[in-house]
């Protein structure tokens, strides 16, 4: 249209919808079609804490280079929500496009001279083509997907295939959907020049990659990890973790002969009860987990302290959202770091895992159970709303069939027979990890009293100062053992190439890697490390010690990971420069670059890259 340089596979489309109008499946159809054309694509739901009626957005970034983080600057806005239209128009970049329902004429105040308007009379077309009120609403969404297909060169047969898969078993619905797609296609053909200067071109960039939400991957991971008991209390954005566990369990865990379940899922009355059930089940030898978000972790604090001190394996998924308090329940953040690391009163520390991709969500669950049982302590899988509730292009999930479940130091009846006197908290192996027994194992040996009160090595209650301190010191020995058991960080270079490093974790990976590429193009070299777990191992310590400046990228206001690094590794605070994002939206590469460059400029030349 505008005769500018064509941009292939590099643009952002944002859909402005009304919550509860069936737009989600149409928008996913659009995303999946691009995925099927072999082009990296990343969608973000920007939704309200509401079921019906409020504005909701769906933002899709297409990136030939495979950048899967969010990007600012909307190239094309699809407007189906009059409520948010004024702001939606403002959000389009200069030279961008605004696709709207032209059944009614746009008011003068909605006209911007620096953007292009594409009017499609969605409502009018639907009213003419369909009689049913619900269909008239639903097919508006499909019509704009048809229009976009033409504008952006999305292959029509890919959309058709997706519809046939979606309505497998309900084939009657396919023709009406295809008809709506064609209405959109034909309208653009008849009224506008197409395709736009930015558009999709088929590639083979995705190979064997899949598209899945992090929460589904966590739920499936729990199935593969052999979890049998799940207890939970519904809370956004974690609910779909347990729902996925439910669905996959129903598929894979129902005994074919008896029809009975090789799993138990209980919706608890609150998060306290949910974690209590997990602790009870784990104490009794089942792999058990719960999923929650920040407010739930707050409620679980007391029980987490018990699990730490009484040494009971506990697996918890924290899908973080924007706090504090109820905060923005449907927005993302990495702001539970401190809460999770030191949950509960007294001296406590907990093992944390930080997956970045759905594949890692799946693997984190496998690791979490092995670590929780291996270390007899809580393990918290720290994901966030961005990872959990958005579809992500991810490497395929993998499981090595030779991988055994590591159940930790549990004595069976035969082992107990050989022991003169069982001591639940005797550190026989000097690694801080002691041997436990399960109820029902042996008629006369191995029983003990699990308690949150102080006890001696034989689990007998004591208020003896020396015995108490001896136990607390052993727990630190166990913590040190944990450092060598948790997943090591990803270090991006074989040996240091710069005095500057960047450090990040979780969903900041996407934007951080993109920022690194851009810095490289600008001949600015920085080293990088991605944390995968807490406690920090020696690689993390080395990375920080061997750089003059480390930029710590995180998605919270208070630089919580920086604090944790300072506390646990004794790092000089001046060495750590925070790069923060805490507006509730996923962090972008531009945001990182701006913050890093400001600091690089203001620091002395010696801090700049050697190269």
């Amino acid at each position: 249209m505008a005769g500018k340089t064509d941009k292939i596979n590099d643009f952002v489309v944002r859909f402005a919808n009304v919550n509860g109008t069936g737009s989600a499946s149409a928008n996913f159809l659009f995303t999946k079609a691009i995925f099927r054309m072999g082009v990296p694509v990343t969608p973000k739901n920007i939704f309200p804490s509401n079921i019906q009626g409020l504005p909701t957005w769906y933002e899709v970034r297409v990136s030939e280079k495979g950048y899967l983080g969010r990007r600012e600057g909307i190239d094309l806005l699809v407007s189906v929500n009059p409520q948010s239209m004024l702001n939606d128009i403002k959000s389009v970049r200069t030279g961008g496009y605004f696709l709207y329902d032209s059944s009614k004429k746009l008011h003068a105040e909605y006209i911007r001279e620096d953007i292009n308007y594409i009017g499609v009379p969605l409502m009018q077309m639907c009213n003419e083509a369909y009689t049913d009120a619900r269909q008239r609403q639903l097919f508006k969404n499909i019509i704009y997907v048809g229009a976009l297909a033409t504008l952006l060169d999305i292959e029509f047969n890919v959309l058709e295939d997706l519809l046939s898969e979606q309505f497998k078993g309900k084939e009657k619905l396919i023709p009406a959907n295809v008809k709506a797609l064609k209405l959109g296609v034909d309208y653009i053909h008849a009224n506008y020049k197409y395709p736009l200067e930015f558009r999709v071109e088929r590639r083979d960039l995705l190979k064997d990659k899949i598209m899945i939400e992090g929460n589904s991957a966590c739920g499936l991971g729990a199935v593969y990890a052999g979890a049998t008991v799940a207890a939970w209390y519904p809370i956004t954005p974690s609910t779909s973790v347990v729902e996925a566990f439910m669905d996959y369990s129903a598929e894979f865990r129902v005994d074919k002969i008896t029809g009975k379940n090789n799993f138990a899922i209980v919706q608890a009355e609150d998060e306290l009860s949910a974690i209590g059930m997990v602790i009870g089940a784990s104490w009794n030898g089942a792999r058990s987990f719960t999923a929650t978000s920040g407010p739930g972790v707050s409620l679980m604090n007391e029980f987490l302290g018990l699990a730490y001190f009484a040494e009971i394996p506990t697996v918890l998924v924290d899908v973080q959202r924007t706090g504090p308090s109820t905060g923005m329940p449907t927005r993302t953040q990495q702001s539970d770091i401190m809460e999770a690391a030191y949950a509960s009163h007294g001296d406590t520390k907990h093992v944390l895992l930080f997956p970045s991709t759905p594949k890692e969500c799946f693997e984190s669950m496998l690791d979490a159970f092995d670590l929780a049982e291996g270390l007899q302590t809580p393990v918290i899988v720290m994901t966030d709303l961005d990872l959990g509730m958005n579809d992500h292009v991810s490497p395929p999930l993998t499981f090595d069939d030779s991988r055994e479940y590591k159940r930790g130091k549990v004595l069976d009846a035969a082992a107990l027979e050989k022991i003169e006197k069982f001591g639940r908290y005797l550190d026989i192996d000097k690694d801080g990890i002691t041997y436990r027994t399960l109820p029902g194992t042996h008629p006369s040996k191995g029983s003990f009293f699990t308690r949150g009160t102080s006890r001696d090595e034989y689990a007998t209650y004591t208020e003896d100062s020396a015995a108490y301190q001896h136990n607390m010191d052993r727990l630190i020995r166990k913590w040190d053992t944990a450092k060598n058991m948790v997943p090591a960080p990803q270090v991006y270079q074989k040996k240091n190439e710069s005095k500057n490093g960047i450090l990040f974790f979780g969903t900041s990976q996407y934007a951080a890697e993109e920022a690194m590429d851009i810095l490289k193009e600008e001949k600015i070299v920085v080293d990088a490390i991605r944390l995968k777990s807490f406690p920090f191992n020696k690689d993390v310590e080395y990375f920080i010690n061997s750089h003059d400046t480390v930029f710590v990228i995180e998605q919270n206001r208070d630089a919580q990971m920086k604090s944790l690094l300072m506390i646990e590794l004794g790092v000089d605070p001046k060495k750590l420069i925070s790069v923060l994002n805490y507006d509730g939206m996923p962090i972008t590469a531009d945001n990182i670059l701006n913050q890093v460059k400001v600091n690089l400029r203001s620091s002395s030349k010696s801090l700049m890259s050697k190269n």
């Binding site: 995925f35 099927r36 064997d208 899949i210 598209m211 499936l220 199935v223 593969y224 990890a225 052999g226 049998t228 008991v229 207890a231 894979f252 865990r253 008896t258 029809g259 009975k260 379940n261 090789n262 138990a264 209980v266 608890a268 009355e269 306290l272 009860s273 949910a274 209590g276 059930m277 602790i279 009870g280 089940a281 104490w283 009794n284 030898g285 089942a286 058990s288 007391e302 029980f303 018990l306 395929p396 993998t398 499981f399 069939d401 399960l438 109820p439 029902g440 008629p443 006369s444 191995g446 029983s447 003990f448 009293f449 699990t450 308690r451 949150g452 009160t453 007998t460 209650y461 208020e463």
Partner: protein
């Protein structure tokens, strides 16, 4: 502190069917106050477990926090015990039971632990019909923090400090009936003859079995004016029936006084033998049981004995259709769908 009980016992103590004498069911020496009602209840639990031929290691005892919750240390030392956090024993018991349905679960709580901080969990564990015995050692006060009123203290009851409780009390037994508990009983720590058969019947019950035991606090709530003192309870006690519990295939004969007999046969063939004392009361009818409690209360009487039982109880495992085999015995081969299936899942996600 926990003290070890001396090992010496009378050489001719009788053995139960498993060959254990009653001392095999004992625990550490109690550190509660001398004369505490809770110690009598512990003794009742020991006696019941002995008479029921329970394998101690096949029983898990769980509790919350408080004087009552300390007692699991004082009985069944060959059982695993779990002293959890305040008011949260029901959730821990639920998880434990889900993991291994083959054990007997025995929960001990107090009136503070259940009727205040743990009310939510108490209500919901009943609603879920967890197969467990839940005993509240109810003394109407907070012992460990020196005698504050609890939510089960009767309105108008005077505590040791002379303060009169201004608030309505929570009646745990009628609440349990209301919420659908399938076995509800009330007893008095001073009435071992009644308490032991009730505990036996409760342990045998295939669903949620609740016993509210009035258990006077000798230190903080045994004064004149208290409605939970030994004297007051003895003066105001009434009973629905004398009760005995007969495990399957066991012949026993008991001398009954005048009144009507009623036998409740459970699904496993065991029998709860009742010699009814209360009028217009049917232990199989919830409404009748509620009426009996309310009528007794109106007469300032503490109604004890079995209040309500439903022999057709279904537990949580039945409701959610869990495997008959304990979940904690399932192996990786049974639980993990494997890599081939994962490849199919991956394919569906492209």
């Amino acid at each position: 502190m926990t003290y070890v009980r001396p090992k010496f016992r009378h050489p001719e103590l009788q053995k139960n069917k498993l060959g254990y004498t009653v001392d095999y069911y004992e625990g550490a020496l109690s550190t509660l106050c001398a004369g505490c009602g809770h110690d009598s209840i512990s003794a009742g639990i020991i006696q019941a477990a002995y008479e029921m031929n329970i394998e101690p290691h096949k029983l898990a005892k769980l509790s919350g926090i408080g004087c009552s919750s300390k007692t699991p240390a004082y009985f069944l030392s060959n059982s695993h015990g779990f002293n959890s956090v305040h008011g949260r024993m029901p959730s821990v018991a639920t998880g434990a039971n889900l993991a291994n349905r083959d054990l007997t679960y025995f929960g001990v709580s107090g009136d503070g632990d259940t009727a205040s901080i743990g009310m939510g969990q108490f209500v919901h564990v009943i609603r879920r019909s967890l197969n467990m015995t839940y005993i509240v050692m109810n003394n109407g006060c907070y012992g460990l923090t020196k005698g504050q009123d609890s939510a089960t203290a009767d309105q108008g009851s005077k505590n040791k400090g002379g303060n009169v409780n201004l608030f309505e009390s929570i009646d745990l037994a009628s609440l349990a009936i209301e919420l659908g508990a399938t076995f509800v009983a009330q007893s008095f720590s001073g009435d071992k003859a009644q308490l032991v058969p009730l505990i036996k019947a409760a342990m045998n019950h295939p669903g949620f079995a609740f016993i509210n035991v009035i258990s006077p606090c000798v230190t903080f709530n045994n004064n004149v004016g208290s409605t939970k003192s030994y004297d007051y309870v003895r003066e105001h006690i009434g009973a629905t029936a004398t009760v005995d519990f007969v495990p399957e295939m066991q012949e026993i004969s008991i001398e009954y006084g005048k009144g009507t007999h009623k036998n409740v046969t459970m699904h496993d063939g065991s029998v709860i033998q009742l010699h009814k004392l209360a009028e217009d009361w049917n232990p199989l009818d919830r409404q009748s049981a509620m009426n009996a409690v309310i009528n007794a209360k109106a007469k300032n009487e503490i109604l004890t004995g079995l209040l309500y039982v439903n022999p057709d109880a279904h537990d949580l495992h039945d409701i959610i259709k869990t495997s008959d085999r304990p979940l904690n015995t399932l192996t990786k081969e049974e639980l993990c769908p494997g890599s081939e299936m994962l490849n199919e899942i991956n394919a569906d996600l492209r």
